[in-house]
Amino acid sequence: MASTACFIIVSRNDIPIYEAEVGSAVKKEEAAHQHQFILHAALDIVQDLAWTTSAMFLKAVDRFNDLVVSVYVTAGHTRLMLLHDSRNEDGIKSFFQEVHELYIKILLNPLYLPGSRITSSHFDTKVRALARKYL
């Protein structure tokens, strides 16, 4: 498993709707802020890149020191963003695909408003389990 990884989901209106620190490293307050900052900065690049390719998985769109940002853009332009220091590309791709499926299940819930925060604890557990499995 990667020592550092931060996963967020950004809605099409550029609002973060889900965040999780999934690394095995000791959690530090300022590191979490830094991770958010790096991911936030990468959004602009994603916006330019998303329309140049038909692939949903954009690998290594941005980097900061030894941290790399990989992004998965869904058809509805929701962005699943992962900040990681591992080089396991296949694992990250599988991780994104499975989280995408979970996200679709969330969207199908009639009581969930698209674009609002994902509060489901079931989703949270599943995402963390996937992170342990693939990253």
């Binding site: 199908l108 009639p110 009581l111």
Partner: protein, 186 residues
């Protein structure tokens, strides 16, 4: 001789028109969602769903009787059985088991293992107290009222609230004797 009442709804279920399960689930979801937006109070939504179910039930019973060849039930026990095995199968594609009879045979539980209404659904914190499937209890209440049985139908267990199955409590309040709308000598 009257045709034998079917013990299961499989044959009827195979012959009635069906829609895609996801379309059905999501349509129902959209209704509940809209009610929540319009009425704001979860309690009101429960009431409204029950009322909608009632209105469906009083019409649905006719279709049920026309298509299922069920003959008159001798007692409430048989009624409950027919609902669980034939009625639910015919309109929802699932069956329930009938359990927990009380001593005088006037109330029982319908336990549903599977419920097509709730695929994908997860109750958020803001909707605690919502009986998502309250329309079902209304349907049963309405249908039974049309065959002269006043009943009270309530949810006891709900998987969306963390229970292990769906349990509907069926209570027979009174049997209304059939009345002719006119007198014989008129």
């Amino acid at each position: 001789m009257a045709p034998l009442a079917p013990r299961t709804g499989d044959a009827v279920f195979a012959n009635v028109e069906r829609v895609n399960a996801e379309l059905f689930t999501l349509t129902y979801g959209a209704i509940v969602r809209q009610l929540l937006t319009d009425l704001e109070e979860v309690e009101e939504v429960n009431k409204q769903l029950d009322q909608m179910g009632y209105n469906i039930g009083i019409r649905l019973i006719d279709e049920f009787l026309a298509k299922s060849n069920v003959s008159r039930c001798v007692d409430f026990k048989e009624t409950a059985d027919v609902i669980a095995k034939v009625g639910l199968k015919m309109f929802l594609g699932v069956t329930a088991s009938v359990t927990n009879w009380d001593v005088d045979g006037t109330s029982c539980s319908l336990v549903l293992e599977d419920n097509p209404l709730v695929d994908f659904v997860e109750l958020p914190d803001t909707c605690q107290g919502l009986y998502y499937c309250n329309i079902l209890s209304g349907v049963i209440r309405g249908a039974l009222e049309m065959v002269s049985m006043k009943t009270e139908v309530t949810w006891v267990r709900d998987m969306l609230r963390g229970d292990d199955a769906y349990e509907l409590r069926l209570k027979l309040l009174k049997q209304v004797p059939e009345e002719y709308p006119y007198k014989d000598d008129e």
